[in-house]
Amino acid sequence: MRRIRQLAWLLLGVVALSSLGAGLWAPADYAMQFREAPNSPPSHEHLLGTDDLGRDRFSRVLYGTRISLLMAPLAALLSTLLATLVGGVAGYLGGWCERAAMGATDLFLSMPWLFLLLAVRAMLPLNVAPTTSVAVTFLLLGVLGWAASARVLCAGVRGLRNSEFVLQARASGLHGWRLLAVHVLPNLKPVLLAQFWIAIPVFIITEANLGILGLGVSEPLPSWGSLLREMESFASFGFEAWKLVPLVLLVLVVSSFQIVLSRDEVAA
């Protein structure tokens, strides 16, 4: 299992580095069209061929991976911060504050994730600039994905609230935010890390679902969701193995995150 975990880390590192350096080794810009060669098979010029608009698929995969792999952890960070705020304060204060916060969390958790996302996404304009669509999509994921983590963190803070070292710190005159920030939250670091890692693959998969449904990152910016949308044309343009590269990459990366987080979960 240790070897598999090392392999997962290696794969994540290679994919992250290659996507971060997309500007260096991508043969073309993600939006550049080779109009004389739409839907072309892999060649020296286009390693993974071109899509139906004549754009280099390899370059789009590199840039798309960069967007998904950079933005999903940022959204996970936002949701973990929100969960820390809600769960941490609720667990620390206890009483009616905890009951109210956990009631709101329960309400959030009982709403099916994709329906809630669609409802909030529809509230915002759909016809926006591509960069805005990236920000909106991942911001929504971050803002709406805090509930499950907040519940876990609230339980963690509640457990620490009456521990001996916290009582001692309180007796020494430490109160409020300082006590929470200096003594309680640092002891929840493994839980926070686990929640952060758990959120990343969930957000990657959700973005892919939204992208395929046309509600994620808008064209011409690529993301895994918009790249996978090409699968819709399999029935008309035919199925070729190289078109599945974004899917294989997605499965490998999400599986690697799951393998890596299984250790963090154990640690938490």
């Binding site: 329960d106 309400l107 009982s110 709403m111 099916p112 994730w113 994709l114 329906f115 809630l116 669609l118 409802a119 909030v120 996404r121 529809a122 509230m123 915002l124 304009p125 759909l126 693959p201 998969i205 959700t206 892919a208 679902n209 395929i212 449904l213 046309g214 509600l215 996978l228 699968m231 819709e232 399999f234 029935a235 199925f239 899917l247 997605l250 499965v251 999400v254 599986s255 799951q258």
Partner: protein
């Protein structure tokens, strides 16, 4: 009885709060009090003013919510702005379709997950367990929309996509529960005394793990309804999942709000139903 009343009160509170939040979302959405019809150059000034007047009553959030709630109590859930049909009619038409697709998917997913988990645990073969776990991990890493596209391409039944979405979650839970159950001291003693595997399964394993497995039933309904959105949209099935997608694309918030509240109520009802059934099963086993 008291517990049931508490559950009902909680459900009512959630519907009210959820409805209030959703209605507020609708009210605060950009372009709420603007209608495309107002841009029609053929309309006279009076007609445009009448359209504005019709929207004006909903400008105050409290009045808007009371109006929404009053209509909802009378069974009037409003009208879809994109489909120009009453929401209630759309729900009545589409819900049975989703119930059939999601129901079949849930049944198939649960059946496969429990059978594979049982075989993997009872056979005690590392390879078999590894293959099943790997399979579940792959399905867990695949977005439901990708599975739906692959199934459209292969001309396979759409309900199987929901089965494949539900399978990995139920399988991993069932496998862990069964492994724990088969390693418990009283089962090892039963094996040592020569009790047959079928008797052990039916008398000692299923009554204990069954009640715990039921806890996932509610969650799996929520997963199936969530997966229904990409599955129905991409496979062309006219259920509430497709309706939600169409409403999102058309920014039809009144329809989306009602759909979200409806699906939340279904999820809550299933969660509590499975909780009560699990308690009964535990009491029966004891």
């Amino acid at each position: 009885m008291r517990k049931l009343l508490r559950h009902l009160a909680a459900m009512l509170a959630i519907i009210l709060v959820g409805g209030l939040l959703s209605a507020t979302l609708v009210r605060l959405a950009p372009g709420f009090d603007v209608d495309e019809e107002q841009l029609d150059s053929r309309l006279s000034g009076e007609s445009v003013a009448a359209l504005r007047q019709a929207r004006a009553r909903d400008r105050n959030i409290a009045r808007f919510y009371l109006h929404y709630l009053g209509r909802a109590l009378r069974g009037d859930l409003g009208e879809s702005r994109t489909l120009n049909r009453p929401v209630r009619e759309l729900l009545a038409q589409r819900l049975p379709v989703t119930a059939r697709v999601a129901g079949l998917g849930l049944l198939a997913g649960w059946f496969c997950a429990v059978v594979v988990a049982l075989v993997a645990t009872m056979a005690r073969r590392v390879t078999l367990d590894l293959v099943a776990t790997l399979l579940a991990a792959v399905f867990l890493s695949l977005p439901a929309a990708v599975l739906a596209l692959l199934f459209v391409f292969a001309n396979a039944p759409a309900c199987m996509v929901i089965a494949l979405v539900v399978f990995p979650k139920v399988f991993s839970y069932a496998r862990n529960l069964l492994a724990k159950s088969y390693d418990s001291p009283h089962l090892i003693t039963a094996y040592a005394k020569g009790v047959g595997p079928l008797r052990i399964l039916l008398w000692h394993v299923l009554p204990v793990t069954g009640s715990q497995l039921l806890a996932v039933a509610g969650i799996s309904v929520s997963i199936a309804l969530g997966a229904a959105v990409p599955v129905e949209s991409l496979c062309g099935i006219a259920g509430i999942g497709q309706l939600a997608w169409q409403a999102a694309l058309g920014r039809d918030l009144p329809l989306l709000v009602n759909l979200t509240v409806l699906v939340t109520v279904i999820t809550l009802a299933t969660n509590w139903g499975s909780e009560i059934a699990g308690q009964r099963l535990r009491m029966g086993a004891a």
